[in-house]
Amino acid sequence: MSTQVPEEKEQSETEQEVNAETEAEISEGASYGDQRRDQRDAQRRQSVSGAPADIEGESFRLKVFRYDPEVEGKMEPRFDDFAVPKQKGMTVLDALIYARDRYDTTLTFRHSCRQAVCGSDALFINGRQRLGCQTQISDLEEPVRVEPLPHQDVVKDLVVDMEHFYDQMHAVEPFFQPEEDPDGDLEEYRQTRENREKIKMSTRCIWCGACMSSCNIAAGDNQYLGPAAINKAYRFAMDEREGENMKEHRLNVMDQEHGVWRCQTQFSCTNVCPKDIPLTEHIQELKREAVKQNLKFW
């Protein structure tokens, strides 16, 4: 099952170089429906909201991290180069999909919604955590380097192991725990607009893991809850519907050795958050609340 690789590696690299040269050559190796596909691609490029969609002969250059733990010849991490024709509006995710579908179907990465809400394509792009689908490739310097999120185990190519991230999210009791129920099944809890506004940004988290990956402290301390999990706790601690006793409990969870106090306000999480959540501020606010709670004998 896992034998054809050394050969393929060389082959795929040269092929990619060659394929990148001209559209005509791309279609040469294919065996099915070539002509139709090229026509369709041409149509597609034209249909991308006007403008000089495809600049003849020009392409974006990608350097993509590759690694497969079980396939001979791919166990040593390396970078593969791909060239993707320039199209207006192309995102890094579009470019990766193009490279995978046209050049190398073994290129592996997570993606689904293509609209910055599923959180599965957080990647390390030109040295920064970003969502592939939300990043216009034309805004980046070439060659565009695409790597898996740092500080997480790499499963294969651009796919990282998210288990630790999920464990930390689960560790903060990430579910609503109100003290009393409203009267009646059809009666809502009342929440002021102001309170909803206060928690609004914290509820936008899509669990992409970019913040955790960018955090120096989390990189060095495996037990640190990290910005995403603390933000999740903030979302509930600040929700007036849960009540004061529960808030106290939540602050106690935060007020631990590997909780909020580990944060050194470097703002890296806030800087990379694709949903603009002010993570560092939320962590600082919980620190203040925890201090206030500890000084309650005042």
Binding site: M1, S2, Q4, A30, S31, Y32, R37, R40, S47, S49, G50, D68, P69, E70, V71, K74, G89, D101, T105, T106, T108, F109, H111, S112, C113, R114, Q115, A116, V117, C118, G119, S120, Q134, V155, K156, D157, V159, M162, Y166, H170, P174, F175, F176, P178, P182, D185, L186, E188, Y189, T192, R193, R196, I199, K200, T203, R204, W207, D239, R241, E242
Partner: protein, 620 residues
Amino acid sequence: MHEHDVLVIGGGGAGLRAAIAAHEEGADVAIVTKLHPVRSHTGAAEGGINAAIREGDDWELHAYDTMKGSDYLGDAPAIETLAQDSPEETVQLEHWGMPFSREDDGRVSQRPFGGLSFPRTTYAGAETGHHLLHVMYEQVVKRGIQVYDEWYVSNLAVTDHDDAEDRECHGVVAYDIKTGAVEGFKARNGVILATGGTGQVYDHTTNAVANTGDGAAMAYRAGVPLEDMEFVQFHPTTLPSTGVLISEGVRGEGGILYNSEGERFMFEYGYANNAGELASRDVVSRAELTEVNAGRGVEDEYVYLDMRHLGEERITDRLENILHLARDFEGVDALEEPMPVKPGQHYEMGGIETDENGETLIDGLYAAGECACVSVHGSNRLGGNALPELIVFGARAGRHAAGADLGEAEITKGKTAEIEEEDGLDTPVEPGAVPSGDDEAVADGSDDVAADGGAAVVDPDETVRRAVERERTRIEELMQKDEGIKHSDLRADLQQSMTENVNVFRNEDGLKQALEDIREVREAYQDVYVNDPSRTFNTDLIHTIETRNLIDLAEAITLGALARDEFRGAHWRQEHQERKDDEWLKHTMLSWNDGTPELWYKPVILEGEDKTYEPKERSY
């Protein structure tokens, strides 16, 4: 072999709600999903949840609007159940902490949506689905429900009785994406399919890449009929370059559609003189394309959606997410300029035939959410009715699978006395499986249940074990080929043909062309190969299996569209510009019969609890 009382396939809105409901009934339940639950496509829903929870509104109005919106192709018992259960289910979400938008008095906000006679769309900004998904996942975590994430269910374990009605489902076969292991999952009580939509049949869609209709295709091949697949909803406001959805909430809050002449065409050209931009989705989608075809589109492709006049404060309060989407995916500052929009595939209104309790024709097999057809949407789904469908029918399927008594369903399943056979649909090519040797049939996943001879397998454990063996063989077959055709090429060809020929506007020649193209892709699929030899995270393999599912569903959509020679809801036919109630107040049903799709019809149920919904001309 893993074993649970109830297995839920899919971790989106319907799946999570089903799992919670089954758990509350005391069942040992597990979720098996090819993504992680928070990656599910429910998270992309923007607009809101229709629920009659305010004075002046009641469930009967909601039911009436839904029946009218469906163009009288919804079944009244399903629609009334939706309208009756939705208020409690929606307030339940609030009780689980969902951050709904709020009124001054602290209660949840509601807003107007297309085709509604009351502003009953309950929402959380323009990211309602994101919050719904996360809130329900939180409840799953709270209850300690087991989740097998990144496990791809590739087939059902169904007994091999000759007659589909006698078959029983005892579990599924799933592929661990991280390790490549193929394992059996046995369900003591039931399997609930909640695998979502099938938007990847088209190349311009609001759907996620993961929406490949796996559950519907697996159920279809196992013998469960697909219902009303030709009714594909095209959402009128998607961004032209990517298909990203711009919520109906924009029009609900007062957004205006203009053509290139600056005319407010919904009124100017009489497409909907009363409701204007808030006519139902089929009406607005056709209006936009008619404008483009008449030369009044922008760059011959799209129209403008303008919300600038709403003011920054209101936009930021209620539609902030739209500003981000327009900026990130179309490079437009929607506070300063109108957004370009055009129709895009959005929702499959048909699906796996179920009753109000989520049961399918096969004992032990349930379906809920977009992969199912109860049917509540008929030929046109109203905005804000997908999310209540998920929670209402997800919960019911979960409860029923766990053993709760929900009473006798009024919707019948399968071929009853009232069915009607299709007599002689003229297709240019033979639809259905490509006849081939046994080995290829296995690689293709299309072997029919009783195909390999010998005694019928009916024992639950043996049924699951044998299904696992079949899938292992199938995957080996796919991986062993060293050369052939790439799934990505086949998928692209399929999507292209569907978008050209089975879109908002349809005609006989186009539909026949699509059937020919689908056949070509199906034949080419016999030579598909998986280039990636790895057992670790082999997306090449997963996408190859998904592509087979897309082929079957594309064909089901097209066959239904060719058969239905009338104009109803989202299904417009150039040669048949009228709704034909005398002939077509019936559901299009498609059964996979030893690899041959068989078309038949069952009547629509217009009798509700205490009234009958009389079909009227639909005007907005």
